[in-house]
Symmetry: none
DNA sequence: CATGAATGAGACTTCATTCAT
DNA sequence: CATGAATGAAGTCTCATTCAT
């Protein structure tokens, strides 16, 4: 279903690793969300994780590498979770709903913000951008597969092609991230969910199973 | 049709300024797009504009204020252009198409990127975030008005409410920005336009005039 | 009695002058007291006086010249006032008391501080230091003259020479400035006056007239 | 005899430090004396000490903190030396003479100037001013104790109270600093010593032991 | 394996000064 | 006579990075 079940990230310099390393990466991701990608310094991650600055450098080599690996790991985990969510249900429509739920929820708390940070970072770092291409493909796959399956079984009767449907759905998911990150109160969390589900339902022409 | 009688931006410290000031702001916006918001330094803008670093400080007070004012002004102009585009046509559907064209084009060159920079900056600066709330309201208005008008005249027969239609349209516009900024080649410029127009057409239930 | 009734200050560059010039100098002296000699900038004096920075430069040439002239003028006026106070009374002891009162009061308010600023500035500027030599001589003269007169008439019967008496008196005046400027509360204003008068009385061996 | 159990200086930000730190502080004090408090920059201390500017920042946090700590430490050491000098002799009058010698000498070379710099800095920094209050109390104590002792043993028969005597002595010490710092040649080093000793002798009414 | 000490590069910022009006 | 615009010089400060332990 996916084309890269466990990609080997081509990190610039992966020096050493330990048990704390993974933990530090999570902390780093948190700090990125709070302070912003570019404003995240060694000392911030050091303070938040309790690991000395020089140790961080020892782990990751440079600041950029640390940040990039943090984003890489985080987004990778995210997509992997989505990929697994795609197998939780038999019915295509239920599966779509689960994928949507997952795409909207996106991690514990305030982690839509992570996605914006990721986009921003990708826009200025070619390595991350390449990663985003892969991620996008993997992110897209479960939706596309499921839609195709639904169309094949007659559960879905969309007007357009499955590819277009997928694109539209993902664009709405991305687009609805913005008002949430920027706290635009014209629309709240519940309305977002309601809106997107009804919209996707119409789009796919869902029939009773 | 619009609700914004030319907003007065409450800048933190607007020191002084002359004719060059406005020109510098445009250059600054360009540099922000090229280098990224956080990576834009005084010296970059100085070099790009031919104005001494100390003069920039004289104009804007601080680096942050310069960047913020640049984003503020640029986005403001953008929305203002959109507001005027809304008057160019009588027929609601033609007007929607013009608004979409404008929303997709977004400035001369590579200035979708500007929007991502703006989002990123808003996520870390309360003043800009406040501005984004206002901008979003103004950006939304022409779409909403036009849709209501079209519904009233029978030109549009959407399934949902005009508010929801507007939200969906804008979310797609925002969401389709991402693959373009990140150069995700799975979809190209023309397909984006085709896709969004057909999608909006379906959404609104456009009838022949 | 004095050796320079109206000294011509050899200012580095006295460019132009007007009515506001003198007023600005007073304001500058005030600012010096408040902010400290070295911390006083053109913009401070500009703000306090309402005169544009470039105008200040037009008046005084440079920042240093402005500050030096301010200190020069202020201290000069001060000594001149002391010189005149020396003639207000016939009786040597009364005259000494008046001189002491004047030496302790030193200008309207918070202007002991001015004297400390002056010392500090003199310690780092040869021109001002030269000026301080002259000032010290003029400041000393009325005391010395009066003491000599009192000794001659039998009003004073000091143990030591008039020169030494004068030196001691002036050193106490200077020394008691410190706790007042630094707000050392172990001694208050009234005690200072009482102490110095009784001390000087003993020192001079004052007899009933 | 003294009331100061080794004060703990509440420095604003004492980042880190090693063995060189203390050495740098002494150098900084020297530079302050030579260049003046306000004119002492990082680069001056860096050049004089051979320590990189960024290291100074690493040690002290900021320029102000470096200067303040330098003055703090220096004056503290000075007073501590005085406190110990008070134990060198049994006879009160000899002890007073030693205290006077110490008060007049004040450190190796040209360090009366230090005291003027200190006053100036105190006048513009509340933290230093507070410190000066403590210092003054400690500086005063040995004199006051010794005088009281001398009075009790009949060695001294002053006209006034011991407190007043102490105040007068200290004010003369402070006041005679000025002509030395400003190089007022009307009185030289030897005369200062002769004058102050004879003056204090008269003041205390010293009797043969 | 992990860290503190030390440092250089490079940013922001202040401020006196020059110049045209 | 007085001023605003513009700028260069020089300072402080941040921060990633190197090195010895």
């Amino acid at each position: 279903m996916t084309d890269s079940p466990s990609p080997t990230p081509p990190f610039r310099t992966r020096r050493s690793g330990g048990a704390r390393r993974a933990a530090v990466l999570e902390v780093a991701a948190q700090v990125i969300v709070e302070r912003g990608y570019e404003r995240t310094r060694f000392s911030d991650v050091s303070q938040a994780s309790g690991v000395a600055v020089s140790t961080l450098q020892f782990y990751f080599g440079s600041r950029d590498d640390m940040l990039i690996e943090a984003l890489y790991t985080t987004t990778d985990n995210e997509v992997r979770a989505l990929e697994q969510a795609a197998f939780d249900s038999e019915d295509p429509w239920r599966r779509i709903l689960e994928l949507l739920d997952h795409g909207l929820a996106t991690l514990p708390v305030g982690a839509w913000r992570m996605l914006l940070e990721f986009w921003y970072a990708c826009a200025h770092d070619e390595e991350l951008r390449q990663h985003s291409v892969t991620l996008q493909r993997r992110y897209r796959a479960p939706f596309l597969e499921t839609i195709k399956e639904g169309v094949g079984s007659g559960r879905f009767t969309p007007k357009g092609e499955p590819e277009d449907c997928t694109t539209v759905i993902l664009s709405m998911l991305d687009g609805l991230l913005v008002p949430r990150v920027l706290e635009h109160t014209y629309i709240n969390e519940d309305e977002v969910k309601r809106l997107i589900k009804s919209q996707v339902s119409d789009l796919l022409g869902v029939r009773e199973s």
